[in-house]
């Protein structure tokens, strides 16, 4: 054995084996199973090292992560807002009601007869009777005009029937209009109100909102790709000499690419997490105000928040974008660095 830890005979033997084997093939000293294992090990160590590398320049890493987070939080917040409103409009649609106002001076027995007539109509699912007295009390409570109303002496409010149309009629605009016409024909009824038009408008606004979300989402996803791509490009430039040496000692392009891809992946994952946290915190901050507002509108409306599934989605999205951005940069720049 010489000091290099290898006997002369084995070197000669190795030299012979190589002479027979093709140049450029896998080196005979590394078995296939070892290569697979080392490939895994390499991935693990790359993941760990590129994570540690983020902490070498924490401010710059944090800024990149924040930019990604902002770009992801904006569409996420819009999605939260739109789906909250959608839930709201859904609630209203399910309880689409027709308000039937009686004449103010209609006698109680007339009101009772009208109520029976309406109940008998096949298109009507449910009828709720609100007496003038109950209407007044509710109005006093909710409107703050209690004082002024008490000055009037008499109750100016009519009796009201709240009708819930049959479920299959709810989305049938012409059917509902026909129903309203029918109700208006009945004597003793002063007016019929169907608040469908603004619901329809809201539906369209929400549809537009969804499209805006998609548009904003795509634009900002592109932004994330470019931000990650540019950051990775700078990282590649700053490690140029290392890349050259690695290529000179036989590192494949895949080997050189790997740490940068992991860096991109980490940026994306952290960006997604921070974006999720931002939206959740923003939701908490808004929740109390929204609750007060919803209470004023006598609604049980609440923001649809992002749960842990949302976190998973944001991390997957962020990770994918980060990896893609890194792949774009790596594909363009690493092949160009040749010794």
């Amino acid at each position: 054995m010489n000091r290099f830890g290898r006997s002369r005979a084995s070197v000669v033997k190795a030299a012979k084996t190589v002479k027979e084997g093709p140049v450029g093939a896998v080196q005979s000293t590394v078995r296939f199973s070892e290569r697979i294992e080392s490939w895994w090990r390499n991935h693990r160590s790359n993941a760990r090292e590129s994570l540690l590398r983020l902490t070498v320049e924490p401010v710059q890493s944090l800024m990149t992560i924040l930019v990604i987070a902002i770009a992801m939080a904006l569409p996420a917040a819009l999605i939260v807002a739109v789906s909250s409103l959608q839930q709201l409009s859904g609630n209203w649609q399910n309880s689409a009601r027709i308000s039937v106002f009686m004449h103010v001076d209609a006698a109680p027995d007339v009101v009772q007869r009208l109520q029976d007539t309406v109940r008998a109509m096949p298109q009507i699912e449910q009828v709720t009777y609100i007496s003038p007295q109950a209407a007044l009390e509710e109005f006093q409570l909710a409107s703050g005009f209690g004082e002024a109303l008490s000055l009037l002496g008499t109750n100016p409010l009519p009796a009201v029937l709240l009708l819930s149309p049959r479920a299959d009629l709810i989305n049938d605009i012409s059917g509902l209009s026909a129903l309203v016409d029918d109700l208006e024909q009945i004597s003793g009824i002063d007016g019929v109100q169907l608040d469908m038009q603004w619901l329809q408008r809201m539906q369209h606004i929400l549809e537009m909102g969804q499209r805006v979300v998609i548009l904003v989402g795509f634009t900002l996803a592109l932004g994330v790709l470019l931000v990650v791509g540019n950051t990775i490009r700078l990282a590649i430039e700053s490690r140029r000499s290392e890349i050259l040496v690695v290529k000179l000692v036989g590192g494949t392009n895949a080997f050189v690419r790997r740490p940068f891809l992991y860096t991109g992946l980490w940026y994306g994952l952290f960006g997604g997490m921070v974006a999720w946290a931002g939206v959740v915190l923003g939701g908490f901050w808004l929740a109390s105000t929204v609750a007060v507002l919803a209470n004023l509108y006598q609604s049980d409306f609440a923001l649809v928040g992002l749960d842990f599934r949302g976190l998973l989605v944001m991390m997957i999205l962020g990770g994918t974008l980060g990896l893609l951005g890194a792949a774009l940069a790596v594909g363009r720049h690493i092949a160009r660095i040749e010794p």
């Binding site: 290898r6 080196q27 050259l244």
Partner: protein
């Protein structure tokens, strides 16, 4: 092991660095490549490393025609070579150990193998106590020896050196040359480009000289 058949290299712009070079080296042979600066020494080494491709002629390494080697195979081919650079090309963001481990890492060696082989290489160049140092803290001669350890750690069949003693004093240069001779002694083909004629003379090995891109092999 190394065979140049009428190899020429013309760079873009028309400069002809090598003109019809014929050269053959057996396994376990050692040779010095000399010549004035700009004579084509570096170009010849770069052709073997596949940093450049010949414009004409054939280059056979280990019996394999390099012109038939696909781009994707270059990395694997280079794992059979060990290269010592004049500016040693060490990475200052990691320890001596990690610098030397690099060729093993890219080839996918086991962790325990890496430790064993790196220490064997460090022992060979007499720097066993420096494995945790940063190359920046080492002297020029020590840095060059780290470069040599990195070049031989994966036991290449061919060892190339481009002006390995360029910045070193005569005694250090002699020590380094003695190291190269040891590798040659265990069957490695060693080709050293240098302009240090005195040292080459003292070594008594084969000398090939390039003159304006033309190779002249001097009698041994």
């Amino acid at each position: 092991m190394i065979r140049f058949d009428n190899v020429s290299k013309r760079y873009e712009g028309g400069f002809e660095a090598l003109k019809g070079v014929n050269l053959a080296m057996d396994a376990g042979e050692m040779a010095f490549l000399t010549g004035h600066s700009g004579a084509g020494k570096s170009t010849l080494l770069k052709l073997i490393m596949l940093m450049e491709r010949p414009s004409r002629g054939q280059l056979l390494i280990n019996g394999k025609n390099l012109s038939r080697l696909h781009r994707s195979q270059i990395a694997y081919y280079r794992r059979h070579l060990g290269v010592v650079f004049q500016d040693h090309q060490l990475l200052f963001d990691r320890s001596v150990f990690d610098n030397i481990a690099l060729p093993l890492l890219v080839s996918g060696y086991q962790q325990r193998d890496i430790g064993r082989r790196v220490r064997a290489a460090l022992d060979k160049v007499g720097l066993l106590n420096k494995e945790k140092s940063n190359p920046m803290q080492l002297s020029g001669g020590e840095q060059q020896r780290v470069g040599i350890a990195r070049a031989v750690v994966h036991k290449p069949r061919i060892l190339l050196a481009d002006e390995p003693t360029g910045n070193l004093d005569p005694q250090l240069s002699a020590e380094i040359m003695a190291l190269f001779r040891d590798f040659c002694g265990v069957g490695v083909t060693v080709l050293i480009a240098t302009h240090d004629i005195d040292l080459v003379g003292r070594m008594g090995e084969r000398v090939v000289t390039l003159n304006n891109g033309v190779l002249t092999t001097e009698p041994q």
